[in-house]
């Protein structure tokens, strides 16, 4: 494992639902909260759209971490999409271990539209954590060129 | 006397211990008083069962540990079967007794029971009493 101050900038994909986590990220922007720029957002209507293979795809394409941001339990715009996401993440964590990927590289957080602060905070925390874990090297990866 | 409340007191060790031993959530009590209304021993108690619950919520350890309430409880479970919050009050009382007894003191001293009483009392009463009132 590499030390965290080695200048390593992790690549992170952030799957966000547009109603809660995406809106929370908007609020972080409007509030000009500064956070680590490592995560590139990909927007869904709902975290229910999160096919587990998307996470695996991201790791095989060179992501060092995958973030999923959904609505708090009970707040899903589509009623139960976030519960499905949660179930899939729990399974994915087990699958990742099988692939030799530290499951801490996958993180699911509930972020509401009013939690700009939380969004910025978890972005910083997650980036720092992935930095500490270092680049994902255990896979034979063919990074997208 | 005025009970001085502060955060550190409300988050009382005693309450925490009672919850751990009894397995009950003290803060589930919403003070309807149904336990007290049906309690057969209440005339001999200083604090009513619901008041004991409130004192535990406040973390008023002194008041509760020096109270007669838990010793007067006869473990008849009437409060527990009727509690609308499904709190086993009987277990809470047991926890309070145990916290006291585990400091290695007896509430009832078996040797102090008069000879002629002992002659009459059935085993069941004695064993039962000692199980509840001695360490």
């Amino acid at each position: 494992m590499k030390p965290s101050d080695n200048g390593f900038e992790p690549r992170i994909v952030a799957f966000l639902c547009k109603w809660c986590a995406g809106a929370g990220a908007d609020l972080a922007g409007v509030s000009r909260l500064q956070y680590a720029p490592n995560a590139v957002p990909i927007m869904f209507n709902c975290t229910g759209r999160l096919d587990p293979t998307f996470v695996l795809k991201a790791f095989t394409q060179g992501a060092d971490g995958v973030f999923i941001g959904g609505c708090h339990p009970g707040d899903c715009h589509y009623l139960t999409g976030n519960y499905n996401a949660l179930k899939r993440v729990i399974l994915l964590e087990k699958v990742l271990v099988q692939f030799g990927i530290n499951p801490r590289r996958l993180r699911l957080e509930w972020v509401s539209a009013s939690e700009g602060n939380k969004f910025a905070r978890v972005m910083n925390e997650f980036s720092a954590e992935i930095k500490k874990l270092g680049p994902l090297e255990k896979l034979e990866v063919s990074r997208c060129e | 006397m005025r009970i001085i409340l502060k955060g550190s007191k409300v988050k009382s060790k005693l309450t925490e211990k009672v919850e751990k031993i009894s397995g009950q959530n003290i803060f589930a009590c919403y003070q309807c008083g149904k336990c007290s209304a049906g309690c057969p021993m209440i005339d001999s108690m200083d604090y009513m069962p619901n008041q004991a619950m409130k004192l535990l919520q406040m973390g008023a350890a002194e008041e509760i540990i020096n109270s007669k309430t838990m010793w007067m409880c006869a473990s008849c479970h009437t409060c527990s079967v009727r509690c609308p919050r499904d709190i086993d009050l009987s277990a809470v009382m047991e926890a309070l007794r145990l916290i006291y007894l585990r400091t290695n003191v007896n509430k009832v001293e078996p040797s102090q029971i008069p000879e002629e009483e002992l002659k009459d009392l059935p085993q069941i009463a004695l064993v039962c009493n000692f199980r509840k009132m001695t360490r």
């Binding site: - | 006869a74 009437t78 079967v81 926890a95 009392l121 059935p122 069941i124 009463a125 009493n129 199980r131």
Partner: protein, 291 residues
């Protein structure tokens, strides 16, 4: 009908009239009761502490004994023993991890598999024998005798152990009616007698006893039928204190329901043990020409 039978300490001493009448009635009704060979104390009260597994060893040993003799059901007569054993068996059923810990602790014994069902004698009478069958065995109906049943706490509470409606049980009433007696509905029949407080607070028991007996009397009862030896002590022997404390208090005979059953079934009089009660029931029974 064959059962492993756990008597408990008090049935062998203070309440031997309960045991002898139970055994006689059981024989008459064809209930075979085989006493566990090496039984020990049940612990008398179920420990309600979540962190106190040691106190569950006593009931566990008894359940283990029952398992050893191959019993599916363990028959208990004393309601305190019933409560303790029933609650313990339910705990082992609901929290297998606790049972596992205890099984490991008792490492020189077999593991208890959690399959013994604890049943009370009343349950057997109602569900296995049937009230009708009891009625058939009656040779000397207790006609005209006004009896108030009294249940106390431990047959009915907590809810999990109750084999009858906790607030409004009827099983003793049903039996009394089958015996030809009048069953008096007393709402205090499920109230606590004061239990173990009798050791160091007999004043309170004197009050409880007076309240319960007066309530039964005000509804026309001449005697109380109950099933718990501790309730019996409190309601019967503690009437002495009630008399002392309240000059306007009148005593009332207290009997086990099984004594009344034995009487009505015409079983040999030696087993009744009427002489063991503080309040002698015999004058009343004579009045009704039952003895």
């Amino acid at each position: 009908m064959k059962y492993a039978y756990y008597p408990g300490c008090t049935l062998k001493s203070y309440a031997d009239n309960l045991e002898s009448s139970v055994l006689a009635v059981a024989e008459k009704l064809g209930i075979q009761m085989e006493e566990l060979p090496h039984w020990t104390c049940c612990g008398t009260v179920f420990s309600q502490a979540d962190d106190d597994l040691v106190h569950q060893i006593a009931p566990l040993r008894i359940l283990l004994d029952a398992q050893k003799v191959g019993a599916k059901k363990l028959l208990v007569v004393c309601s305190m023993c019933y409560n303790t054993l029933k609650q313990a068996s339910l705990l082992f059923e609901k929290k297998p991890d606790k049972l596992e810990t205890l099984n490991l602790f008792l490492d020189d014994e077999d593991d208890y598999l959690g399959e013994v069902e604890v049943v009370h004698f009343l349950q057997v009478l109602r569900d296995e024998v049937g009230i009708e069958e009891i009625a058939k065995q009656v040779v000397r109906p207790l006609t005209g005798l006004n009896v108030a049943p009294y249940y106390g706490c431990l047959l009915l509470r907590p809810q999990e152990v109750a084999f009858d409606e906790p607030e409004r049980p009827t099983v003793i009433e049903e039996i009394l009616v089958a015996l030809g007696a009048e069953a008096i509905m007393d709402p205090l029949k499920v109230e606590c007698c004061g239990s173990y407080q009798t050791v160091n607070n007999k004043e309170i028991i004197a009050d409880r006893t007076r309240t319960i007996i007066n309530s039964a009397r005000s509804r026309g009862a001449e005697m109380i039928a109950l099933d718990c030896p501790l309730c019996d002590f409190n309601l019967d022997f503690r009437q002495k204190e009630s008399e002392k404390k309240y000059t306007d208090f009148f005593t009332m005979p207290i009997l086990y329901y099984t004594q009344l059953m034995a009487l009505a079934m015409g079983i040999n009089g030696d087993i009744y043990g009427f002489d063991k009660h503080y309040v002698d029931p015999r004058p009343l029974l004579k009045e009704y020409e039952l003895i």
